[in-house]
Amino acid sequence: MTLLIDKLFANATRFVAVAILLLVAWIFTVLFQHSTEAIAAFGFDFILQDKWAPNLEKFGGFAAIAGSVISTFLAMLFAVPVAIGVAIFLSEIAPAKLKSPVGVSIELLAAIPSVIYGMWGLFYFVPIIRDIFGGLGIGMLTAGIILAIMILPFMAAVTRDAMNTTPDILKESAYALGATKWDVIKDVVIPYAKAGIIGSLILALGRAVGETMAVTFVMGNVHKISLDITAPATSIPVTLANEFTEADTDLYFSSLFELALILMVMSFVIIALAKFYFLRRTRKVK
């Protein structure tokens, strides 16, 4: 009897664990199946065409894909230097008394739901951008800044953890040679933690690409590529959030599913790259 229960329990755990693998495969299969109609209708053009006209049954994902790439790029541009600065502050500069409260508040603020960042962005940040750059205040630039603020705490916390793995003895030997704090950071800490830092940046990149609600508030959902980053634009998640419940034809649906599939593949590749290539080494430390 005990032996039977023992076997049952072992198999139950294995079953659930394997089911998670199957679930991921299932997600890809379902997204692909529902995209087939759009893939058949537009082929590779879907990725290159920016005309998105539901009334004409013409769908091209280029504006959304480009919007995702550009807003993510802007977010990284703003967030990376600040995040690395915060991480340096937390791991090397802050006095012991400040380290823990500042570190914890950074981590807590990473937990605030993105819909709230979106609301704050719409009501408090959009007017500022409007005053400075004119126009609506809604668009790629605003989205990039809000995204940057959202990924900042996450990036800073993981980078700090990577920097904290630097053995003290390495730093002490550098100080003993007369290095300044900056020398130590630049020549000891950053090189030592490099893989972890890059990994955390890529991981944050993956988050920014898939981030939906915060951006939905401030992007505008206009399927048009514009060189002006203060003009309304769209991205893959924004398109999905705004149009999924409105889609009325099969082809429209299928095109949205193809966008979802593209987004899933993008984020899967980005996160896998961060995990397998850069974070392997620091993984056990956490």
């Binding site: 991921v24 600065g85 995990k275």
Partner: protein
């Protein structure tokens, strides 16, 4: 300027800049918190808890349907996701260990943890909403559970591994079968850590909006039936905040305040449990 003076100057500049970026980061984030509290306190009153959603302009308008809907959605998703996550985590730590299969499952669930939640929403839309023909609370529950499982799985795996193997060996030496060792020794030893993982998992899905937009959708009336569309705080907040009506926007802020206090509270609670455990 001598070389040393220059190095000291550069040192000062860089340290100043990174302290400044810490200030910038914290400044932005506290700005958001301040906005939440200032608007939230202002918008909260008893009506919110007593009444259901009403058209703009009505005095007797509240968030009762969204508060209860949120609790039901997150509660049921927790009831589904936690046991599955813990079972899978148990497999990784106690049976699979360093095997190839276990490593693959670990990697895939790490990736799943950061997968865009809106994609999970569209997947659930395809497998549940389309066949059923309408939005439903169940679809929302499934989407939230899928997001939660990898989080619970990974923390369970990590926390069970922290239980010293000597404890397991001692129990085995007494002749206990493996499942009893796991249930009565390993789980007990890892209780605090697993609980923290569960709390963080709840906090994470509690703030999710995107996957609910086209699964549980929304409802302006109180509804306990999971096979019907169901309101949630997050989706209601999204709808109210993007509406042009001032009183709806105000209720959006009330919802934002309640939700963020709930989520921050869960996070702090989780940390305290871990801290207390470490202290012992």
């Amino acid at each position: 300027m001598t070389a040393i003076e220059k190095r000291l100057l550069v040192n000062k500049i860089v340290l100043g800049l990174s302290s400044l970026s810490a200030l910038i980061g914290i400044g932005f984030l506290f700005w958001i918190l301040y906005v939440l509290v200032a608007n939230g306190i202002d918008a909260i009153n008893w009506n919110i808890f007593i009444f259901e959603g009403a058209p703009p302009g009505y005095e007797e308008s509240g968030l009762r349907q969204a508060l209860i809907g949120q609790l039901i959605l997150v509660g049921v998703a927790t009831a589904v996701g936690v046991p599955l996550g813990i079972l899978a985590g148990t497999y990784l730590s106690e049976y699979g260990q360093k095997s190839k299969l276990a490593e693959i499952i670990r990697d895939i669930s790490d990736i799943m943890m950061s997968a865009p939640s809106i994609v999970i929403g569209s997947f659930v839309y395809a497998i549940i909403v389309l066949p059923m023909g309408h939005f439903s609370g169940w679809a929302g529950v499934v989407a939230l559970a899928i997001i939660m499982i990898p989080i619970i799985l990974r923390t369970t795996d990590d926390m069970l591994q922290l239980v010293p193997s000597t404890l397991r060996e001692a129990a085995f030496a007494l002749g206990a079968p493996k499942y009893k060792v796991i249930m009565q020794v390993v789980y007990r030893g890892a209780k605090a850590g697993v609980l923290t993982g569960v709390l963080l998992g709840i906090a994470r899905v509690g703030g999710e909006t995107a996957p609910l937009l086209f699964t549980s959708f929304n409802d302006n009336f109180l509804n306990y039936d999971l096979s019907e569309p169901m309101a949630s705080l997050t989706v209601t907040m999204f709808n109210y905040a993007t509406s042009p009506y001032e009183d709806w926007q105000k209720m959006g802020w009330a919802a934002a305040f309640i939700l963020s206090m709930f989520i921050l509270g869960l996070n702090i609670l989780g940390r305290l449990i871990l801290l207390k455990k470490k202290g012992r």
